[in-house]
Symmetry: C2
Subunit: 385 residues, 2 copies
Amino acid sequence: MDELNINFDKYKNIRRTMGRELIDLNPIQRGGELPVESKKAIYEYWDGYSVCDYCGGRLDKVETPPICEYLHDVSKFLGMDFTRPTHGARESKFIVMHSVCNEGDFVVLDGNAHYTSFVALERAKLNSEIVEHDGYPTFRVNPEKYAEVIDNLEDKNKPIGLILLTHVDGNYGNLADAEKVGKIAKQKGYPFLLNCAYSVGRLPVNGKKLNADFLAISGHKSMASASPCGLVSIKGEYADKVFRTSKTHPVKEIEMLGCTSRGAPLISLMASFSHVAERVKNWDNEVKKTRFVVDELEKIGFNQLGIKPKQHDLIKFETPILDEIAQKDKRRGYFFYEELKKRGIGGIKRGTTKEIKMSVYGLSWEQVRYVVDNIKEIVEQGNNI
Amino acid sequence: MDELNINFDKYKNIRRTMGRELIDLNPIQRGGELPVESKKAIYEYWDGYSVCDYCGGRLDKVETPPICEYLHDVSKFLGMDFTRPTHGARESKFIVMHSVCNEGDFVVLDGNAHYTSFVALERAKLNSEIVEHDGYPTFRVNPEKYAEVIDNLEDKNKPIGLILLTHVDGNYGNLADAEKVGKIAKQKGYPFLLNCAYSVGRLPVNGKKLNADFLAISGHKSMASASPCGLVSIKGEYADKVFRTSKTHPVKEIEMLGCTSRGAPLISLMASFSHVAERVKNWDNEVKKTRFVVDELEKIGFNQLGIKPKQHDLIKFETPILDEIAQKDKRRGYFFYEELKKRGIGGIKRGTTKEIKMSVYGLSWEQVRYVVDNIKEIVEQGNNI
């Protein structure tokens, strides 16, 4: 192999300090930190195909480790009928779209939808019709507008295959009114997919109460699981479609390509279940911490975008004050990132000063106050340059 | 949550003994055991979305950890042009089929093809035409028959989208003549996908030398990586198709749904690269160990199926002698599994006695001899019942 001129050593010593050495404010990572029991479980299952020791032919039926039982229990937890492991929320969305829609169908989805919703429908050869949000500064999705968009498509005889709502979006952390959109979908007679990547595992979610037919769930984003891992949870009436099996290999589910998440990430998802079920009970406290951060940082010139007051931990701020300081500081836009890092805080995108995204989900009140005090100090110092 | 009546504790304490306490003979697991540097890397990256600390919008371009460099280096290692991470070989196959075929196209594939090849083509809405193997006892795939099957389909005006060969099959461990099948595919003008789930990472493979346009690779099966993880490696001329990007989100590759293996398994794949590059150099020794096992166990009434002598570590035996003993032993078919377990050996399917699959890949000669001696002893004891 030496003639290939590859420096293999570089891959043998891959290190990461985030999380262990820094308080991580990255919203996509705050819900994915593993509790200790989950780390222990990974230690047991990190070898390849480790979950297959006692497999009888299908991942979701494996009893040791208790995958089958877990899927049954997590369905109860989600208020749905059946659940399967997937590689993540995007893969769950593609599975649903590819199962319940016909090529060319329209997916009606909100203007705050994650890019993966669009890429998944494009991969499934579907069209999209966007329900626009209200724009600056709330970017709110109005459920009533779903009815308008559906009516318009029907007037034009466009086939609608699916209604999709982003329960909590990744830009503004707005919590959408899923129950109402679900009701409209039901009234109009279309299946309803709720993208719960930022909700299930952080806050209590009951799929049927929200009139959802399908939930797309992210393990690594919000269920304290290693990546990549997720769930697709569905109502019983769609099982024949979504879980349809192969003509040539009748035990195997087509959309799962037989088996999906066949290893350590699924084990961590299971091991973290108890931790996650406990933490969603403390959602009110998480919202309180979030609002505290907003209140304090708006005092120094930050401006929270999205619906007010916050109903979710993901915060987006306009930060003209950071932009001003960047003009004066010799480190330019990097000053904020570097000052935070000095103080043991990470997860804010390097070089950004106009807008920042952050979350204090799962941090202690002491940590939250530490973060707020240090951001204030950095801005104060910057003002004095 | 208590009203849900879920026993959460059961998921908090998931244990596994295989691998740590037993010599594992399961062929799907022997190539997936992690070297220590890979376990250390997982320790760094087990939190969800951990590889995204410095992401600029696409997984394959991430520089810290060195994913971008790894994909470049592993392409060299594979003798191909471009490589992307996937969730495994089945996902790689679906990506290729869904990119290069049109709905209804025929995939010409060998009779030893893994079930996931069939499920993937069914998911992609394609048809299959099988190149039959030679049947009992060699189950050999004759490359010339590919030409016949292709000619027959052409005569019937059936559209052919892809030629697929299983490099090493999971039933008999036959090493197929990829170079010849690739040559035929090239002559006939069809793209050629080689399923390397059981080859890349165990034995040296150079894709272009084998005339492959695409390699489907399994990290967890044969590249000492945590599951689920794999690679799709392609020739440059297919990059526009397989890596095509979204109309609405031009940075994002459609078939990857933006990003695929976004966490710990990919890190383990990278960390194991050096280990894997070293071990493929010792392939001759692995084949020697395999042939030793076959020679020794055929002396006590086992009969190796598939091509002789062995060219791959996966061994399938007919074991009429175990079946005879099972008739006499009060544990029936379970006696073999239980006797092996007593002796610290695992990975043989519980209750099977007519045929068994095993591999000693990566075991030391001392362990190989231990396995052989103990199987001989179990059979001798059984004969004496």
